[in-house]
Symmetry: C2
Subunit: 468 residues, 2 copies
C-alpha cells in the first residue's frame, strides 16, 4: 500500500527526500541507494548517514547486524535493503533498519579527496567535479532548482511565456566590448601559411556569445507581449571579484504595454519576493541559515514580506544621501558618475537595511536603449540594490519612440544597419515596453549568504580558469 | 468581484488568454492591450481581431461606434477599453464591446512586412524579428513553453533536480570535432604583427561551446543522483538539413543506480508521453492539427497512451527487418554500419507506425562512454526513432567500470589527463548510471508537424546564417 503513489505513477524508486517526507513508515522492505557520508560503529550496532543528494537531511541507516556495515566507508556508494521505521533517536524522525547492504562502488577512505573536515573553497574549486558531494554545495544546487521553480510559477501566473533566446548573436547588446568572439573557421593557421589570413566565418558574419538576451526578448515581446528567459550570458571581463563570472545565468523578462519604471519595479519585487519565500520555506536554507548572523535571516524574512513595499529613491536622492552621509568613501559620490560598489552597499546595508530601488540614473551612464525621461538628462531606469550582493537587478523602460532611439544610437556611435531589425520593432505597431535582468548567481549569493558567486554555480568559469 | 484573482495576486492586467478562459464576463469596463490582426468594417458595426500573443484565439473586438475603429490597421498596437460580454456570434464565446480605442503604435498597412496572406517560410526567416507575429510561429513558441512546463513537472515528480551545466567547456563530449571554438584574446592580428601569433586564452586553456552536457551531468549525478538540464548545445556542422541547427536546445537527464537500458527507456518514454499529453491538451496544437492528415493526429494520440508501451527492438533485429523489407534503400542496411535516416524512418513510419526504441548498437558506432555489453560487441544503448523526425533521443548506460572505461578511451585516442576528472567519478564511490539526450527542436517538429527545425526555434542559426 505504501508508496503506491510512487509505484503507480513513477518510473523510479523514491529518493531519500521523498521517503523522509512521506507520512508513513514502511511495513515491507524497501531499497535505498546513496552514498555513505559517515559511519559510526558501536559494539552491537552501527549507524551510517546516507545521502543521495536529494535532501539536506541524511537518512540514518541502522545496522543491528554490524557485519553488514563492515565494508562501508565514507564516500562509497551503497544499495541498502531494509524497513523504514520511526526513529527512537533524536535528530531524525525516521531511520532505515538495514537487512541487506551492498557496496556498489568502493571509495578508499584514506585517499578520498572529499574528507569529512571542512575543506577550503579554493580546494573545492580545484575539485569541482566532486564538490557537489559536500553538503553546502549540494544544498546550493537544490536551492537553485527551488529558485527556478518559483520563477517559472510566478511568470506563468503573470501570463508570461518562457522563451529560448539565442546564445550566438551578431550584436553586442551592452556595447561594452566585453563579448566573447566565436573563432572563425581557419583550417590553416594564418601565421604559418604565408597567405593573407582567411577569416571564413561559420555564419558568414562574425558571431559573439550573448551578453544579454534583452534585444531578442524585445522582438519577442513585440509579438507575445510577455516573455522571459533564464539564459546563460557571457562577459569576457578580466575582473576577479566575488560578484563576477565569465559565464553566468541571467533571468531576463520583457513585456509590452508597461508605462512606468514603477510598474517594472513592481514585477521585479513580486518575482523576487516569491523566490525569497520559496527559499525561506525550503529545508536547504537551514544549511546556510545556521551560520547566519541572526539579523541576516530576519532581514531576509522582512524583505520577503509581501505587505511591505521595498523603498524606491531616485539616483539624484541617492547621491544626496551619500554626499551627506559623512562616510569617507574611496570614491566621492558625485551626480553624473556611476555608483560604486561601496556606495551601493551603503545604500542597501546601512541607509535602508534591505533591498532598495534606485531609479532615474543620468542617461549618459546607461545603454542606448533606455527610454529618455522628459527632463532630458535622466533615463527611465532602475537598479535594485540588496545588502551584501549589491546590484542584483537592472531594468528600464525601453525607448519605443523611433526618432529618439535613432538619435540615441547615433550618440552611442552604433551602426543603424546592424540594428535595422531593432528599429523595425518601433516602426510596425510599436508599444511602450520595459524589462529587467537579474543575475541569478547574485540572487543565490544574497539569499544563501554564500560570499563568492563562484560557489553559487555548479561549475564556475572566470578569467584564467575553466575546469572540466 | 470579477478578476479578483488577478487583482489580488497579480502585478499585471489579465492577458487575452486569461480573459478568454475565465468563467465569467465583465460587469465593468476593462482594458485590453494587443495588436490588430484584421479589421472588418460594416455599415453600422466594425470588428477587429486582436491578439496579444498569449493565446491562439484572437479576441473579437466589436465597435458599435465605427468611428472608434477608423484608425485601426493590421499590425497596429492598440489599447481598448470596454466590456467583456458573451458573444452572440459564432466562432467565439466572448467578445469585447469597445467603448474607447487608442492606437498606441501605428503600422502602415501597405508596407507592413507581415501581410495577411500566407508568407513563405524563407520570407519569414528573413524577417525573423517579426515572424513571431504570425499565428503559427506564436503557437510554436507557446508550445515550446508548454513542453518545458511538462518536462519540469515530470522530472520534479521523479525526484530530479534541474541543473545548469556549463556552456563553455574544455572538452568535446562526442569527440566528433564539431565543437565551436571560442576565439583567443589576440589584441594584435597575427598576420600583421610580424611576430609569432600570440594565442593568449581567456581561460588559460582553449575553450569550446558545449556539444552535450552529459559528462558534466554525470559529475553532478554522482552527487545528486538524479539531474537534468534543458540547455543550449552547439555543433559546427555544415549540413543543411531540416533536422540540424548549429545552435539547438537539448534535454539531457542523467541518473545514478539505474541498471538497464530498459530502465532508461522507461524514463524517456514516460517523459515524452507527458509532453505529448500536454501538447494534445493545448489549444496551440489546434493551429497545427487542422492541417494534419487525420492519421497523424491519431498516431500522436496513440503514442501518448500511457497504457501502451512503445516497442523495443535490438539493432541486430532492426538490421534484419530492414534487410528483409525488400525496400530499395539508397544505403544497403548492414550490421556494423550506422542506420541511415531512410532506415530510421522506415522503422518508425512503416514497420512500427510510431515511436520505437532501437537498442544495443555495435560499440564501434558509439562514443567511448557507453557501457559495454557482455557480448563484447555491442553497447548498452538505444536510440528512440519517431515518425517524420527520425532520431529523437539517444541514450545509454555509461561505463562505470574504471578499467573498461580506460581501455575505451585508449581505443578512441582520448587523452587520459584531460578526462582525469571523468575517471575520478568511477574511482570514488562510482555507481551504475545512465541517461539520455533529446533534441528539443526535433521534439517540437515531431509533435507540431512543422517540417523544418528552423521553424521550431525562435531565432535559428545554421551554417552561413545568423540573423539578429
Amino acid at each position: 500500500m505504501l508508496f503506491r503513489r510512487f509505484a503507480s505513477t513513477s518510473c523510479l524508486p523514491p529518493t531519500i527526500h521523498q521517503l523522509l517526507r512521506s507520512e508513513t513508515t514502511s511495513p515491507s522492505s524497501i531499497q535505498v541507494n546513496g552514498w555513505v557520508r559517515s559511519v559510526r560503529r558501536q559494539k552491537k550496532v552501527a549507524f551510517a548517514a546516507v545521502t543521495d543528494g536529494s535532501s539536506s537531511h541524511d537518512l540514518q541507516a541502522v545496522f543491528l547486524n554490524t557485519d553488514l556495515a563492515k565494508r562501508l566507508t565514507n564516500g562509497c556508494s551503497v544499495r541498502l535493503t531494509g524497513k523504514l521505521c520511526t526513529s527512537p533517536g533524536a535528530g531524525q524522525a525516521k531511520e532505515l533498519q538495514v537487512e541487506e547492504a551492498e557496496v556498489v562502488g568502493e571509495c578508499d577512505p584514506e585517499l578520498y579527496p572529499i574528507q569529512k573536515q571542512t575543506l577550503s573553497v579554493e580546494y573545492l574549486r580545484d575539485n569541482c567535479h566532486l564538490r557537489a558531494r559536500t553538503s553546502p554545495v549540494a544544498a546550493m544546487l537544490r536551492l537553485r532548482d527551488t529558485f527556478k521553480t518559483a520563477i517559472h510559477e510566478f511568470f506563468k501566473r503573470e501570463g508570461f511565456h518562457s522563451v529560448h533566446t539565442p546564445i550566438l548573436t551578431s550584436n553586442d547588446c551592452e556595447g561594452a566590448g566585453e563579448a566573447f568572439r566565436v573563432a572563425p573557421l581557419t583550417s590553416v593557421h594564418p601565421a604559418s601559411s604565408g597567405l593573407p589570413p582567411k577569416t571564413e566565418e561559420f555564419f558568414s558574419n562574425p558571431s559573439y556569445l550573448t551578453v544579454s538576451s534583452q534585444l531578442h526578448l524585445e522582438a519577442l515581446a513585440a509579438a507575445m507581449s510577455r516573455v522571459y528567459t533564464l539564459s546563460p550570458c557571457f562577459r569576457a571581463e578580466p575582473s576577479q571579484t566575488a560578484r563576477h563570472l565569465a559565464e553566468f545565468w541571467m533571468l531576463e523578462a520583457e513585456w509590452a504595454f508597461t508605462q512606468s519604471v514603477d510598474d517594472v519595479c513592481r514585477v521585479v519585487e513580486a518575482a523576487t519576493k516569491e523566490v525569497l519565500q520559496a527559499a525561506l520555506a525550503s529545508q536547504d536554507m537551514e544549511v546556510f541559515a545556521k551560520d547566519f548572523d541572526p539579523s541576516r535571516l530576519e532581514a531576509l524574512k522582512s524583505a520577503a514580506d509581501a505587505s511591505r513595499a521595498w523603498p524606491r529613491m531616485s539616483y539624484t536622492m541617492a547621491v544626496e544621501k551619500l554626499t551627506k552621509s559623512g562616510v569617507a568613501f574611496q570614491f566621492a559620490p558625485e551626480w553624473g558618475k556611476p555608483l560604486q560598489s561601496e556606495h551601493e552597499r551603503w545604500l542597501a546595508e546601512i541607509l535602508i537595511g534591505g533591498p532598495v530601488f534606485v531609479t532615474d540614473y543620468p542617461a549618459s551612464l546607461k545603454p542606448f536603449y533606455m527610454r529618455a525621461n522628459p527632463d532630458g538628462e535622466t533615463a527611465a531606469c532602475f537598479d535594485l540594490l540588496v545588502p551584501h550582493a549589491g546590484e542584483l537587478v537592472g531594468g528600464s523602460l525601453r525607448e519605443e519612440r523611433l526618432d529618439l532611439l535613432e538619435k540615441a544610437m547615433e550618440r552611442h556611435g552604433l551602426d543603424a544597419d546592424t540594428y535595422r531589425w531593432y528599429l523595425d520593432l518601433r516602426k510596425w505597431g510599436g508599444a511602450p515596453h520595459g524589462g529587467f535582468g537579474m543575475g541569478f548567481e547574485r540572487l543565490v549569493s544574497w539569499i544563501s549568504g554564500i560570499e563568492n558567486v563562484r560557489e553559487c554555480i555548479p561549475m564556475p568559469r572566470w578569467a584564467g580558469r575553466m575546469l572540466l
